[in-house]
């Protein structure tokens, strides 16, 4: 999943922000009673009341307008093309899949539950065949029934990457690893349903034939990109402007970067949908360009929550923590923020040089640069997010990053430098996105601590909008001498495959759009991923995930900064609120309700 948010604040704005923050604080004081953690004065549920648990479920009423605000629009509202985390979360309002994440808080929210299908998959043929039967009463927004062919067609659209770029391509890779199918727009069959890996013997049955088993296949079917799309309503590249609804709400209007309004899909039947409660009558999003203005309006009660769910800005956070703590939650986002060492850039081909950086870094300072323990997250000690099965959280800390070495260990770092043949240190360059001030701050922190062990670091702030082209090209990374790259990653679905495969598998090293920045070519890790996809039981999968994480950490390819956390706002109007691991610690949008319909 990708999260983004307008973050390019000008440095000069800092002074202005400080004054305004003070004024806002004063203004907020006059606005109402001060909340405490229990939060009853303004009806808010209390600090962290919705973090991994349901807050005020019984207060939710049918009706009203749920108001989102956002500093950025989705990459696309087309179910095939969207990749932003909030888009996947929000799309459940207007799209359904065979299976989806449970509408439950915390870890349970990452589990799979039937949606359009009557049950989870009937898996046969050693994990290579998945069969589903569709429910009765499932309909499109014009009242026509949703058929297995609509689902197949929606999935086939993933193959049309030349037209519908941007979304995840897991299904394409798993169902058609040889790339034989060209997608529905080039499909020569009359019904445009030529993908051999999916059978639709009747309108109610759909069967997936995998060339090779993949134990996360059902997770992939829960992604938004597996939504049905009706062929006669497919407007191809323009579908994201007005997707045809299979869910409880449909598009009323959408003006990119301005606003989006959903209204009830009157053809949707609650009896056909065990997942969605569909409380509000109307759901709207207003897009802002000023993140501070957005936060102020959230705090003022003009809007209910931030669509992006990437936390309040520093100014809004200060005010909210002081005056409206009962409206805040502090979830773990599922993201790990880290530095990675490309092995193509010397001396990072040497494991000891990498480890010298890991030991030399001041991990508390890096955490502070990310926003501190509350707004930034706990010190990251390994590379598997806490929400992924198999993670040991901070209990696995092979370099004692949150323990004895949390302020850096100069002696140990120097030992590693000696072992790598660079006892006096070396020179390298950190590549960091210029549109992420927090990442630039971490680069500066790292630069300062590495100086103490003789590693001289230049910081290259590259154009953040060109990330894929600049650091996603191994040849460019080598040419520019980027020995350290600052990045972050979150799971597409909560498994080691959904998180780590593009980062750590040698098969995912690409000349363009590469995400295996460290260029890890470890046969053991590749082998473990192969074992993982063939392992069907959950405990076995978790064990392999743990093992892969250990291998990655032992190689010293990464310096984790934090297991990221956010401070997110929920208005006092909201009911039935909870964060879910299914969407990286965001509130589960689809079942939010309002306490009052006015």
């Amino acid at each position: 999943m990708t999260t983004q948010r307008t973050s390019g604040r000008r440095k000069q704005a800092a002074a202005a922000a400080a004054v305004v923050a003070a004024l806002l604080t004063t203004a907020a004081c006059g606005g109402g009673g001060k909340d405490d953690d229990g939060g009853t004065k303004n009806g808010a549920a209390g600090f962290d009341a919705a973090n991994n648990k349901v807050a005020q479920a019984s207060l939710a009423k049918k009706g009203g307008e749920l108001k989102f605000a956002s500093a950025q629009d989705a990459d696309s509202w087309d179910t095939t093309r969207g990749y932003y985390g909030f888009m996947w979360n929000f799309s459940r309002y207007y799209s359904r899949q065979l299976v989806t994440n449970k509408t439950e808080p915390g870890k349970a929210g990452a589990e799979i539950t039937p949606d359009l299908a009557t049950d989870v998959a009937k898996v046969t043929d050693d994990g290579k065949t998945y069969t589903y039967t569709l429910r009765d009463g499932i309909t499109w927004e014009d009242g026509k029934p949703i058929t297995s062919k609509d689902i197949k067609y929606g999935i086939e659209r993933v193959w049309a990457q030349d037209v519908l770029s941007g979304g995840p391509t897991y299904l394409k890779d798993v169902l058609d690893p040889k790339g034989e199918y060209e997608g529905p727009y080039k499909d020569k069959s009359a019904d445009k349903l030529g993908l051999k890996a999916i059978d639709t013997p009747d309108d109610k049955t759909i069967i997936f034939h995998l060339p090779k088993a993949n134990s996360d296949f059902e997770e992939m079917l829960a992604l938004t990109s597996a939504s049905p799309v009706r062929q006669d309503k497919d407007t191809k590249s323009k579908y994201g402007l007005h997707p045809f609804s299979s869910g409880p709400y449909k598009f009323q209007s959408y003006s990119p970067n301005k606003d989006l309004v959903l209204v009830r899909n009157t053809e949707w039947k609650a009896s056909s949908d065990p997942v969605r409660k569909a409380y509000p009558d109307k759901i709207s999003i207003k897009f802002f360009t000023n993140a501070n203005d957005l936060d102020s309006r959230l705090i003022a009660g003009d809007y209910d929550l931030d669509l992006a769910q990437t936390g309040l800005s520093p100014q809004g956070r200060t005010t909210a923590l002081k005056e409206h703590k009962a409206n805040l939650d502090n979830p773990v986002s599922g993201y790990i923020r880290y530095a990675v060492f490309p092995q193509s850039v010397k001396p990072f081909d040497n494991e000891h040089c990498r480890k010298a950086v890991i030991y030399g870094a001041d991990h508390v300072s890096l955490q502070t640069a990310r926003g501190g323990p509350v707004a930034g997250g706990d010190i990251g000690t390994n590379m598997l997010p806490p929400s992924v099965p198999g993670s040991e959280g901070q209990d696995y800390d092979p370099y004692e990053l949150a323990g004895a070495n949390k302020n850096g260990n100069v002696a140990k770092a120097k030992e590693e430098l000696k072992a790598c043949g660079k006892p006096n240190g070396f020179k390298t360059t950190i590549a960091v996105r210029n549109n992420k001030p927090v990442e630039v701050a971490t680069a500066e922190s790292l630069q300062a601590s590495l100086k103490k062990i003789g590693i001289t670091v230049d910081i290259d702030q590259y154009d953040g909008a060109q990330t894929t082209g600049i650091i996603g090209s191994p040849s460019n990374v080598q040419k520019k001498g980027y020995g350290i790259i600052i990045m972050g990653w979150g799971p597409d679905f909560p498994s080691v495959q959904g998180y780590g495969l593009p980062l750590w598998s040698s098969k995912y090293i690409q000349q363009s759009g590469n995400n295996n920045y460290a260029l890890i070519k470890d046969k053991e890790i590749d082998g473990l991923f192969d074992d993982y996809v063939n392992t069907l039981d959950d405990s076995g999968k978790a064990k392999i995930a743990t093992e892969i994480n250990h291998k990655v950490m032992e190689g010293g390819y990464y310096l984790p900064f934090v297991f990221e956390k956010f401070i997110n706002w929920r208005s006092s109007r909201l009911a039935n609120v909870y964060t879910t691991d299914g969407y990286s610690g965001m509130y589960d949008f689809v079942n939010l309700g309002l306490k009052s319909t006015k």
Partner: protein, 340 residues
């Protein structure tokens, strides 16, 4: 009345319009160069920035085809100009998108033709620029004139201190401050933009703070220029002559001094209004106004070249037209000016 005869005026206008057209072509070529050539020199494949996290090779190729990135730069520029007059068809991978004339390009980020985006957002920016201009002209010029007439007084000094503050304080400061006080704090104004067609009072409420913020900056500049010009003019011989003739001071100021003062003010107004119509980026960003400035900011963040090109063209066009209008108005204000 415009002097120089109708033919001279026409010839003048044609000359200016031709120069404007040449300027627009140059601007388009430069913007193309900035967005296509510079990344190429830096070794960056632009297509990869459009494809998201899992950069499928087919997706990268599809983007290249749609954006015409494989074509030489002159061919891309030519296609762009052709599209303005005859429209364009974008096709690739079995998907065909028609962009009717005037086609100022097509955004592959938001899947929209640029022209409707521009026409949709233009009224917001126009309303912002015109409303603010009325305010800054009234208050800026009045403050400048009064300061010049009451030179050295407490009023003069006070007005010039306020003007200095207005010029020095950036819009994102005054804008945020006005929001914090009047909207979030006192709650007097709901500063959220409402389209004029939805509600006049809502629109007025949403525009009042942006107008004041923008006008504060410009009024300060206008006050300082008006004061300086007025003081210079009041020392001119013809003003002394007018006074010696026994004309009332009010008439001297209004009929003689003001008229000459307006010439540089008008020049500034032309430039400022033109630039603002092209997008008051900071003001629109601070107040989340859905105008051209906001569109171009989003486009820059998303590397959405067609939108950037479209807004740049509109800005240039607005500046050129505003200057042309100002030049013509010179002759009306100052009879000494000839349009020849």
């Amino acid at each position: 009345m415009v002097r120089g005869g109708p033919l001279a005026v026409l010839a003048y206008l044609i000359r200016r319009l031709f120069a404007a057209a040449v300027m627009l072509v140059v601007i388009v070529v430069v913007v193309f160069g900035i967005f296509f050539l510079i990344p190429k020199w830096a070794g960056v494949d632009i297509a990869t920035s459009f494809v998201g996290k899992q950069a499928d090779p087919a997706a990268v190729e599809g983007i290249r085809q749609k954006l015409g990135l494989s074509d030489p730069i002159y061919a891309q520029v030519w296609e762009f100009f052709k599209g303005i007059f005859v429209g364009r068809t974008y096709s690739g991978g079995g998907d065909v998108t028609e962009c009717a004339a005037p086609c100022f390009g097509y955004s592959f980020r938001s899947e929209q033709a640029i022209w409707p985006v521009l026409t949709d957002r233009f009224p917001v920016t126009l309303g912002l620029a015109l409303g603010a201009a009325v305010l800054w002209l009234i208050f800026g010029v009045a403050a400048g004139v009064l300061s010049a007439l009451k030179r050295g007084t407490l009023w003069d000094r006070g007005a010039m201190v306020v003007a200095l503050a207005g010029v020095s304080l950036p819009i994102y400061f005054t804008g945020l401050l006005s929001l914090a006080i009047f909207s979030y704090g006192l709650g007097w104004i709901d500063a959220e933009y409402v389209p004029l067609e939805d509600s006049f009072t809502g629109w007025l409420g949403g525009m009042i703070l942006p107008w004041i913020t923008l006008a504060f900056l410009y009024a300060a500049m206008y006050a300082r220029i008006t004061r300086a010009t007025m003081m210079e003019i009041l020392g001119e011989d013809y003003i002394r002559t007018a006074r010696a003739k026994g004309l009332k001071e009010q008439v001297v100021i209004r009929k003689h001094a003001m008229r000459s003062t307006m010439t540089p003010i008008l020049t500034m107004l032309g430039m400022d209004l033109g630039a603002l119509i092209g997008g008051a980026i900071l003001t629109e960003t601070t107040f989340s106004l859905p105008g051209l400035g906001q569109a171009v900011l989003n486009a820059i963040k998303n590397q959405d070249l067609p939108v950037i090109l479209g807004v740049t063209l509109i800005t240039s066009l607005a500046v050129l037209i505003a200057n042309l209008v100002v030049d013509v108005l010179y002759a009306v204000i100052d009879p000494r000016v000839r349009l020849s």
